[in-house]
């Protein structure tokens, strides 16, 4: 085994991959949520649709999107590796265990939270991302240029109460996942310092509420305002 594979196969190597992919996905979420804020613009979806086109055609964004796919897949696969290792490390369980007295619920259930988010992701991608790439999306023309009217699709989708509910609930899970994941990634990378860690903790606490809340506000907003 080369030193690279040896490192990546070590527990810490696997954790490194989890942390790096996790942090990249946090960056992705930040971009994603900021772009999607255009939904609130109230311009009939023009800005949003133009943004959607930009995101699917710009080569730099393309590269980023591949990195995002890799991160998602890597994050999932390595979480499976780690979960299996962790399960094997304790073949016989305790009959009574009071984890709640020594750690946060979310930190102990990252796998469960992650799985729910993954299921959500499949629904989400199928509903919008796949539509945008390969689906039948009506077009709309701004200034003589043709755009796919993703805004219409989004509006249509979020008229369904169940889907709105699914999104909102999923965002709650995402919030919990991030509430641990954000600071945890820094800890795994070894970035723990008396001076800076409190700031990271605070940023994590704000992020894990703010970003999912913004995401969740979108379907709700659309549900109540759509025409």
């Amino acid at each position: 085994m080369s030193w690279v594979t040896k490192t990546l196969n070590s527990t810490l190597g696997k954790k490194l991959i989890m942390a790096l992919t996790g942090l990249f996905l946090i960056l992705f979420l930040t971009g994603h949520v900021s772009g999607n804020l255009l939904l609130f613009k109230g311009d009939g979806g023009q800005a949003f649709n133009m943004y959607a086109k930009f995101m699917t055609t710009n080569p730099a964004v393309k590269l980023l999107s591949y990195l995002t796919y890799i991160s998602v897949i890597g994050h999932v696969i390595y979480s499976i590796f780690l979960s299996r290792q962790n399960k094997a490390a304790r073949p016989v369980n305790y009959s009574t265990s009071k984890g709640s007295t020594n750690s946060a619920w979310s930190s102990r259930n990252m796998g469960v939270l992650g799985t729910i988010i993954l299921i959500f992701l499949v629904v989400h991608l199928q509903g919008f991302w796949a539509q945008m790439h390969w689906g039948q999306v009506p077009s709309v023309t701004y200034d003589g240029e043709e755009y796919k009217d993703l805004f219409l699709i989004v509006n249509g989708a979020f008229k369904q109460l169940w889907l709105v509910a699914l999104y909102v609930i999923s965002m709650v899970f995402l919030g919990f996942h991030l509430s641990h994941g954000f600071a945890s990634a820094f800890q795994t990378l070894g970035l723990n310092h008396k001076k800076y860690s409190p700031a990271i903790q605070t940023a994590g606490s704000i992020y894990c509420i703010l970003v999912p809340a913004l995401f969740a506000s979108m379907p709700i907003y659309i549900y109540f305002t759509s025409y």
């Binding site: 030193w3 490390a89 073949p91 990252m110 945890s184 800890q187 795994t188 723990n192």
Partner: protein, 249 residues
């Protein structure tokens, strides 16, 4: 006080084991938890039953030999070692569940006794400064800033009891391993072997079959010596920088 004890009994490593229930009456609040078990054992012996086996030695909270997973927590409800836990932490009529540490790397030997030699092997992999007896410089030739010496001492306090592994949902030995890596990484004496030490100790930790760290912080919360998980971050740092820069291929 009168208590119901649900204790894990297992004849040997090969036995499947299971819980047995005992009643302990006339328990005094001033007894230590282990003294309560001593009394139970004397009663069992007089009745002709095999006493409950558990590890313990110094009973001062420093040797790290006592263990026990009590009511869902390593070393019981207080952040201390089991030998320092007193019955005043329990109330009359309570049922107390006592289990051994559970980890693949800590196989049960008998009843509540487990084998923690994995920890010794982690230290043997590099938890030392390679100096022979004699031929060392005068102690004051190596000045060490007080803050650094204090941080090293914080990490060095580990008693190797294994509560971190027991508390961790993944049975991870990161806190134990990182405490030693940290101590020696902080001190000037540890610099020479710094990289190799981090690599070897982490490799041994993996080879023993411990789980990974999810950064839940349970280990730190349960550690009787309050070893901080900042040591884990430090070890990660040490390890990552070692693997990319050391001469060990």
């Amino acid at each position: 006080m009168k208590l119901t004890l649900k204790i894990w009994r297992q004849k040997n490593a090969a036995d499947k084991g299971g819980f047995a229930t005992y009643t302990a009456d006339q328990v005094s609040k001033d007894m230590s938890f282990l003294e309560m078990l001593d009394v139970l054992n004397d009663q069992l012996t007089e009745k002709g039953e095999d006493p409950v086996h558990f590890d313990h030695d110094c009973r001062e909270g420093i040797c790290g030999m006592c263990s026990l997973y009590i009511n869902g927590k390593p070393h019981g409800p207080q952040q201390t070692t089991t030998c320092q836990l007193h019955m005043r932490s329990f109330s009359d009529g309570e049922t107390i569940t006592i289990e051994p540490w559970r980890a693949k790397a800590f196989p049960v030997v008998k009843d509540l006794v487990v084998n923690r030699s994995a920890f010794d092997r982690i230290i043997q992999a590099g938890g030392y400064v390679s100096v022979n007896t004699g031929g060392v410089p005068d102690a004051n030739e190596i000045p060490i800033p007080k803050t650094i010496a204090d941080l090293a001492m914080d990490a060095a306090q580990c008693i190797g009891c294994g509560a971190c592994v027991a508390a961790c949902k993944n049975a991870s030995a990161m806190l134990f391993t990182s405490a030693k890596v940290s101590q020696l990484a902080l001190l000037p004496q540890g610099q020479v072997e710094r990289k190799t030490r981090a690599e070897k100790m982490v490799a041994q930790m993996d080879a023993e079959g411990f789980g990974a760290c999810t950064n839940t912080g349970a280990c730190e919360a349960e550690c009787p010596k309050g070893i901080s998980i900042t040591n884990i971050a430090r070890m990660n740092r040490e390890y990552f920088s070692a693997v990319v820069s050391s001469e060990n291929v």
